[in-house]
Amino acid sequence: MMSGMIVDKSYQAVTGRKGDIIQQAMGVDYSRYESGSIAFDYEGMMNDTGYTLEDHIRLQRRFNVGNTPIFELHNLTALARKYAAPGKGARIFVKDEASNPAGSFKERRAVASVYHAKKLGYKGVIAATSGNYGAAVASQAAMQGLKCIIVQECYDSHFSGQPEIIEKARKCEALGAEVLQLSVGPELFYEVLMMLEETGYFNASLYSAFGVGGVETLGWELAHQFMERCGRHPDVVVCANAGGGNLTGTARGLQKAGCSAQVVAASVDLKGLSMASDRQFNRKSFTTAHTGFGVPYATDPDHSDVPRSAARPLRYMDRYVTVKQGEVFYITEALAALEGMEKGPAGNTSLAAAFSLAREMDEDQIIVAQETEYTGAGKHIQPQLAFARRNGIQLLFGDPQTEVPGVNIVFPADPGLLQARDADLDHMRASLIRRQATRATGPVTDADIAYLVEETKSSPAFVRKVLASLGL
């Protein structure tokens, strides 16, 4: 706390103090994991939280999080099979994460952060999020008796807010949090640093090891639930991908449960829209789980609000597919019309991908979309599509491949046109290697090569080839 002192609050001064502020606000000294070269000790950072998978399970039981049901979507499976080759069409399941207290899987990320903050004597927690994580932290802070501030990017310069984000603000306030709303811009992190400094609260970062470790329970539960219900593990687990914590945590949990399911990332394709643009802010219908976060965070995990992110999805990703906004809205309507469940829409990104991927798989295989999320006024396909139309976005039926983010939303004219598209994973792997290698000083060591192989789930030959192309 800096009260009583005169503190320089200019942008340069505050961001210049970032390292100290974050250390004060988390009690983690990130420098101890650095090698001085490219590599850092990821597993060391993940293990040093003091919370094992068993601890996370115990804490989540205590605070009413997790143990969410899995539902088999019989009608969506039947529909997928009508648009698949004979013998194709895997059984489609979903894990109903909407049944967590604050309505999403994000609460798994909040439990240990809030618990740890309280244990260390912090009076409150701060999180930077426009999404479900805000409600998750607010809910846990309410349950565990801490104060909570949520910082949101919410409005454009005409004070027009994304209906989905305004609903999240309402929910956070309903759960007792202060919600500080900002207009468009990455300087949100500057505001968060100022708030951390002013209040002395804990930084409940989405990217901390406490948070990502908490998602391991999701993968662990999935593996055990499928053994119990189907006598076997799922073949494919689809995770919506934005900051990468969902996929990272789930995959680590699956591994710890001995499940070798293929892990597929899915993001909504928002190619061409700038995430920092005031004018384009309200021309998108998805504020999370989209490529505008998914690709930059996968290829450069360490540009978040912590020096080293615990969310490193390329370590665990077997495949990365994108779906269009129109396809996610369509599957959201299908979930309501054919399965009797109103969820999402953003939380159905993985389900849209699963519906497409199921058609490539055999009938006796199992694919699972590992989350749902709550729905409500503002955060629902009708207000979001009405908002899109009001912002000049055309709503069309046709081939979603032709959708242009910011211009139109194309719903599949028939279910067979819902088609997830593969993103170039090797291109992303090379991009990660390039960024990390060019940032480091000094020669590349064998330990660096081994680290980059793990970072990208690739091979020494692949890493060496990329490094050679950089002259390293």
């Binding site: 501030i149 920092a276 643009s277 009708q382 139309r389």
Partner: protein, 101 residues
């Protein structure tokens, strides 16, 4: 007119356009970084547009221009979107066939 302890919403500029970071698209760089927050009014009384201070629900003091007294949520389910109905009808038809749609 708001009086002390009323629940209000305030607004202020956190960064003016010239104070914003260099890495922004031009349209964002041209506008200020703005902030909105709610709290209990500290001033004895104030009108919309006045500079005021509030205490937020976590006990933090903030200042800015008063923009709303008794702020409410006006989010809803939006205007009717006929395409949703079309999707619903075609999905039922695709799965169950024309007669049972």
């Amino acid at each position: 007119m708001a009086k002390k302890n009323d629940w209000v919403r305030i607004h202020r500029h956190v960064l003016e356009p010239e104070e914003r970071t260099g890495k922004l698209p031009d349209d964002t760089k041209r506008v200020p970084l703005e902030m909105w927050v709610k709290g209990r009014l500290e001033n004895e009384c104030a009108s919309i547009g006045d500079e005021v201070t509030v205490v937020t629900c976590v006990g933090r003091r903030e200042h800015g221009q008063l923009i709303e007294v008794d702020p409410c949520y006006d989010l809803n389910y939006g205007a009717f979107v006929p395409e949703i109905l079309t999707m619903e009808e075609s999905l039922r038809r695709a799965l169950f066939g024309g007669d049972e749609a």
